[in-house]
């Protein structure tokens, strides 16, 4: 009996006809079987099927090579979609991570820490749809008279003209603000936990040596928690690439605010073009591959230290 080498001790004495190993194997497959079946049928097969469909025409009756991708990367309105996604990616990641880190550092130093954390974290529990309604109200615009939207009430109080925030030039940023409002709390909670792991004596030694708080932040704290910052940033990137609900609810992708995921939905259900919508999904997948590789590496490193 090799208990130390196999975690599940064999039961060979009771099963003379089965080698203990093949029996263990069978049992293990019974345990993971349902999960593997779900993953294969609903995730793995669909990924390959979508890849195949992305090279076919709108009703998958004809092979069209790279035409769908050529359309995505040359069509004017598609280029706006891609541009918007890049804007979401850059601004959304930068703002959520930077604000999350800043607030984590600030709340770490006050006594009302848990109250402040809860207030900033609550939007995480709300759906994007709910957040969309909340912010549609904040951005509400009336051409004249009483403003019932908070932003325009403030703007007109200071004597400026009311703005149609969701229609005019800055509307993409107005939408990104909603995402930042929702996800900064997530970044804050994770970064705050990492901050508490920075040894106090290192910080104290730096202070004694006369380092300023700003220098301590950028030259000690940030490098020490950089693995966590990377994890948070990749999570934001994955989220932002697929951003759908906020745009769908608040502008429907109109007024130059369209993004890949909304266009995917439109192509699929409004234009019935499986080719283009599959190709859009493949573009998303390709954008995520570097993140995937990063995740696998990180996971392996974790396993090595387990």
């Amino acid at each position: 009996m090799a208990i130390s080498t196999t975690r599940a001790p064999s039961t060979e004495s009771k099963t003379p006809f089965f080698g203990s190993k093949s029996r263990d194997k069978l049992i293990a497959w019974l345990w993971i079987g349902p999960a593997v079946a779900f993953v294969v049928v609903f995730l793995l097969y669909p990924v390959f099927d979508t890849l195949r469909t992305s090279f076919l025409n709108f009703d998958s009756s004809q092979f069209v090579g790279l035409d769908n991708f050529r359309h995505i990367f040359t069509d004017r309105s598609m280029l706006i979609v891609l541009r918007n996604n890049l804007l979401w990616l850059a601004l959304g990641t930068a703002l959520t991570v930077a604000l999350g880190l800043l607030i984590a550092v600030l709340v770490d130093r006050v006594r009302i820490e848990s109250f402040a954390k809860a207030a900033i974290f609550i939007p995480m529990a709300i759906s994007f749809v709910g957040a969309g309604v909340i912010w549609k109200f904040v951005y509400d615009y009336a051409a004249s008279g009483q403003q019932i939207g908070l932003f325009n009430a403030i703007v007109t109080r200071f004597g400026f003209a009311p703005q149609a925030w969701l229609v005019n030039g800055g509307n993409n940023i107005a939408l990104i603000v909603v995402y930042v409002w929702m996800w900064t709390g997530f970044c804050m909670v994770i970064l705050s936990a990492a901050l508490k792991g920075v040894p106090t004596d290192i910080l104290e030694a730096a202070r004694v040596d006369g380092a300023s708080e700003v220098a301590i932040f950028f030259r000690i704290i940030v490098p020490m928690i950089s693995p966590t910052i990377a994890v948070v940033a990749t999570t934001m990137i994955i989220n932002l690439l697929k951003i759908f609900d906020v745009v769908y609810v608040m502008t429907g992708g109109n007024y130059n605010t369209n993004v890949i995921a909304v266009e995917f939905y439109n192509q699929l259900l409004n234009f019935n073009d499986n080719g283009i919508s599959s190709a859009l999904a493949v573009v998303l997948l390709l954008a995520i591959v570097p993140v995937m590789i990063f995740n696998i590496r990180r996971f392996r490193a974790q396993e090595a230290t387990r």
């Binding site: 975690r7 001790p9 049992i27 293990a28 345990w31 993971i32 349902p34 593997v36 779900f38 993953v39 049928v41 609903f42 995730l43 097969y45 669909p46 990924v47 979508t50 469909t53 600030l106 709340v107 770490d108 130093r109 009302i112 207030a119 609550i122 529990a125 709300i126 994007f128 709910g130 309604v133 909340i134 549609k136 403003q147 019932i148 939207g149 908070l150 909670v189 994770i190 901050l195 508490k196 106090t200 104290e204 202070r207 004694v208 994890v231 759908f244 609900d245 609810v249 995921a261 939905y265 699929l268 259900l269 499986n274 999904a281 998303l284 995520i288 993140v291 995937m292 995740n295 387990r306």
Partner: protein, 320 residues
């Protein structure tokens, strides 16, 4: 000096120790402790007061949008459109629950709420159960290909939902399950699995191996170990996973739109509200109360189970 009283406060730990030992020399050995002049003490308390003020302002800024919606949902319809919600905070107060009555009765939001429940509860329990079995095997059994299969599942964690929606829609159409609750349960089970397996395996793997091995030697079967040793120990981990998955399914819009789009009678809250926004434009008396009904359950869960929620966030990493 308010700040120094907080023992958990890491950055100011020197002052902290200093004060608790009555201002005399600190117990902390070494160079880091020095006496503070009255001027320095004043500066520090001014700074900490300023800091608290900044944090309070940020917290308020973050809460104002939700608060505005909440207040508005209790204002009469004509008042919502006539003036900003902040005006209603001053007397004379005039609040009503008729928006909620209206939404639940005439807009059929009661059905949407129940649909959300019907979708979310099995859509949470099914993946957690399937994942728990798999995670047990990945953590405590040895079989060829174990690590590779696990790695493959973890890799699928970040695959965009969009990449799978069209084939899933076609599979469900082929077996006649589009627009049905069963179809969306199966889809949510698959979407939730990679994260659930990943999370539970790391929780299970962290349990002491002696426990399992001695149970095996005593002749306990895997099933027995799973149900009578592992699950009771894993309740906190399972709780955070259940909360996560529930929130994800409850708040989902895209999957429900695509897979239940053709069946309005099965539409959950998110789809119903999205339709309201598109068809009514700025009919705020309906929107505000409807949105708040959809938020009520997640908010209750958040406040009552905050500990598990945060724990799950810290333990998990990325959800695709």
């Amino acid at each position: 000096m308010s700040i120094a009283k907080n023992p958990a406060h890491a950055a100011e730990i020197t002052t902290d120790v200093d004060l608790r030992s009555g201002g005399k020399s600190s117990v902390l050995a070494g160079t880091s402790v020095r006496a503070l002049s009255p001027r320095e003490r004043l500066m520090r308390s001014v700074n900490s007061g300023l800091l608290t003020f900044v944090v309070v302002v940020i917290s308020l800024l973050w809460s104002v949008p939700t608060f505005g919606l909440f207040i508005s949902s209790f204002r009469p319809a004509d008042a919502i459109h006539a003036s900003g919600w902040w005006n209603s905070l001053l007397p004379p107060w005039h609040f009503t629950i008729e928006n909620y009555q209206h939404v639940l009765q005439t807009q059929d939001f009661g059905t949407a709420f129940i649909n959300s429940m019907i979708i979310s509860i099995p859509g949470t329990l099914l993946p957690v159960l399937v994942a728990a079995f798999a995670a047990y095997a990945f953590a405590w059994m040895k079989f060829p290909g174990r690590d590779w299969i696990f790695l493959a599942i973890v890799t699928l964690l970040v695959v965009p939902v969009q990449m799978t929606l069209i084939p899933i829609f076609q599979i469900l159409t082929n077996v006649g399950l589009t627009g049905s609750f069963l179809g969306i349960w199966l889809a949510h089970t698959a979407y939730g699995l990679p994260f659930a397996v990943y999370l539970l395996r790391s929780f299970f793997g962290a349990l002491p191996s002696d426990l399992m091995e001695s149970a095996r030697i005593d002749g306990a079967s895997h099933l027995r170990i799973f149900f009578s040793i592992l699950l009771p120990l894993a309740v906190p981990s399972l709780a955070s996973l259940v909360i996560f998955q529930f929130m994800w399914v409850w708040n989902d819009l895209l999957v429900a739109l695509v897979l239940l789009g053709g069946a309005p009678e099965h539409a959950p809250m998110t789809v119903a509200i999205a339709n309201l926004v598109n068809s009514f434009g700025t009919n705020y008396e309906v929107l505000t109360s409807a949105a708040f009904i959809s938020m009520a359950l997640p908010l209750v869960i958040f406040f009552s189970l905050q500990r598990y929620f945060v724990r799950g966030i810290l333990a998990g990493s990325v959800k695709g």
